[in-house]
């Protein structure tokens, strides 16, 4: 039981936080700009390497340097939107999807070109001692930080979306873009904020993922599939749903390799990613609008 919490449940919540933060952006972009953003994973990678670059200069706790990564991701996302996505906005959205594939490639090759393709670890690379609670629970400090940070972000996001004018217009555009435009909402401003929030959270998610293991150019791409699954699970255009979806996918992936029956892992850990995919496929068959009544585009 204690092993279950130490080695399965807590890491599951940590990876769930990563998925949750990434899925929020995917869900919001899908809801507001109406296209599946396939470069989101690589945007995460770019943000992560921004933190890594800052960590090479300032010898402090890398968590304090995450804002550098967020800025890099935000600037790149806004630039890419202006140069690559906006000229295609009048066409069917599928062209933007194709474009985002190209952008994913551009981000990844830039990371490889600037920082090389080897694995890189944060800080000294040494193992930090785990947090011991009640003499039985041994959890990694980073995992606790990830879960706490995600909860705080969720709180702020909820406040932003329900109380501020910009947040409300974002929800309005997501629900009905024509009506929002007729009502005189500034759609471009909404689009801008979507990218800012999506990119910032992607950078945070990528940094946590990289600090937990290591940073490499395929980091974000490998996380893309579970994040899409989380976004669909939570319902497209529902940021809080995407958060919940992220945790559900994280739990499902990690707990699927627990030895529920007998002594062997239920599903071999090397097929973790497949779990998220199977969940996504089942959802697409049974309930494509997701658990929280998202929109079906």
């Amino acid at each position: 039981m204690i092993d279950f919490i130490n080695f399965y449940l807590v890491p599951a919540l940590a990876i769930g936080s990563v998925y949750a933060l990434g899925a929020v952006g995917i869900s919001m972009i899908f809801g507001i700009l109406r296209f599946a953003h396939f470069a989101h994973g690589d945007l995460m990678t770019l943000g992560t390497y921004g933190v890594l670059a800052a960590a090479a200069i300032f010898p402090v706790n890398p968590l304090l340097l995450v804002p550098f990564g967020m800025v890099l991701a935000i600037v790149s996302a806004l630039l890419v939107d202006k140069v690559f996505y906006r000229p295609l906005r009048k066409l069917p959205t599928i062209y933007t999807v194709i474009s985002s594939f190209g952008v994913a490639l551009i981000f990844r090759s830039l990371v490889q070109l600037l920082w090389g393709s080897q694995n890189q670890v944060f800080g000294s690379g040494g193992v930090r001692p785990p947090l011991v609670l009640f003499d039985t629970f041994r959890v990694s400090v980073l995992h606790v930080q990830a879960v706490v940070a995600t909860s705080v972000i969720a709180l702020f996001l909820h406040f932003f979306l329900s109380r501020t004018k910009t947040g409300r217009s974002m929800r309005a555009v997501s629900d009905d873009p024509e009506l929002a435009q007729v009502a005189g909402l500034d759609t471009e401003k909404v689009v801008r904020w979507t990218w800012i929030i999506g990119a910032a959270l992607a950078a945070v998610a990528g940094s946590f993922a990289a600090m937990d293991t290591s940073a490499h150019p395929n980091l974000g791409w490998n996380l893309l599939m579970p994040m899409f699954a989380a976004a669909i699970l939570g319902g497209i255009g529902k940021p809080m749903g995407a958060m919940a979806g992220g945790y559900i996918i994280g739990l499902a992936e990690e707990l699927s390799s627990y030895h529920w029956i007998g002594d062997h892992a239920l599903i071999s850990p090397s097929y973790k990613t497949a779990v998220a995919f199977v969940i996504m496929i089942v959802l697409l068959i049974v309930k494509p609008q997701g658990l929280f009544k998202g929109r079906l585009l």
Binding site: A36, L88, T93, Y95, F101, G102, V103, S109, Y271, L284
Partner: protein
């Protein structure tokens, strides 16, 4: 000597170009004619490659095999299995917005990569399959075998090209384009949209499977790295977009053009100092990404734009 070297360099470009032409024709059936977004070309390519390789190789203790079937049967198996997988993906996703099909097809491709690496009893894992025969391999060796293989590949390309042309001009193809251009009015005209889309996707995937099989026979060796999504999926999309989606000739022109460019830059970059060679592959990737953006924004209809066949009236 210089000239024969150059000649066989050209042959190798044409063989790989022919395989890419098949992939482009297949994608053109799916995207150009049907408007279906397949982001997992590498997955269908991989399934074709492994099916054909396993069906045709001899007995081995390291992986599934020992069927020793002729190459043609292997390719047929590749088409069947890839088509079957395409059917499953399409069945689930065609009723949803095309973005979902993209997600599911890319998901399939990623999962297949996991399966190929992990299930080494079938695929020999990352060590790969060796000794995959070529068509008529028992009679030929050396460079003449390359020429025969070139003819073999291009015969298949031509067959697929004529079939694709025929499909394009057939009532089936016209309904398909009607669905692509205006789903609602096609449905109002009584077309079963889902059925047409599933058929299109399956045909395209089967051809992608054949292309995968051919590449396995060409290299005589197959490992998971051969199904790299960058080299298969991305490059094929750029080829079709640049060549002209909706135009079968454009698909072939795009495949040959982009593949020649890609290979020629390799000659150039191989002369760079060593530390730059690894970097140059990233630069090439960056350029492919940028090229896709330029094509999408400025030359959406490609070198050879789609030209609808003229109306013909029965006298």
């Amino acid at each position: 000597m210089e000239w024969t070297g150059l000649f066989f360099y050209l042959v190798s470009i044409l063989i790989a170009g022919g395989i890419y032409a098949l992939l482009c024709l297949a994608l053109n059936i799916q995207w150009g004619m049907g408007g279906l977004f397949n982001a997992g070309i590498a997955g269908f390519f991989a399934i074709g490659a492994y099916t054909s390789a396993i069906l045709t190789t001899g007995e081995s203790s390291k992986h599934l095999g020992g069927f020793g079937l002729p190459v043609f049967a292997g390719l047929l198996g590749a088409a069947l299995l890839a088509g079957l997988m395409g059917w499953a993906v399409a069945k689930i996703c065609v009723r949803l917005k095309s973005d979902y099909l993209a997600m599911a097809s890319i998901g399939i491709a990623e999962i297949l990569r996991l399966v190929i690496v992990n299930e080494s009893w079938v695929t020999n894992g990352s060590l790969g399959l060796a000794g995959i025969p070529r068509p008529f391999g028992e009679y030929l060796a050396g460079r003449s075998a390359d020429l025969v293989f070139l003819a073999y590949v291009w015969t298949i390309v031509l067959i697929v090209y004529f079939v694709a042309m025929r499909l394009y001009d057939s009532p089936w193809g016209r309904s398909l384009r009607a669905i692509r251009d205006n789903e609602a009015s096609a449905a109002a005209a009584g077309k079963n949209i889902e059925k047409f889309r599933v058929q299109t996707f399956v045909i395209g995937c089967a051809v992608m499977g054949v292309a995968g099989g051919l590449s396995a026979h060409y290299f005589r060796f197959l490992s998971p790295s051969a199904t790299d999504p960058l080299l298969v999926t991305f490059l094929v999309w750029v080829m079709l977009m640049a060549g002209g989606s909706g135009n079968n000739r454009g698909a072939i022109v795009g495949a040959l053009g982009i593949w020649s460019l890609w290979s020629m830059t390799e000659i150039f970059t191989n002369r760079l100092p060593l530390e730059w060679i690894t970097r140059s592959s990233y630069i090439r990737m960056l350029l492919v990404g940028l090229l896709l953006q330029v094509v999408l924004q400025k030359f959406r209809s490609g070198v050879l734009p789609e030209k609808s066949p003229p109306l013909r009236f029965r006298k």
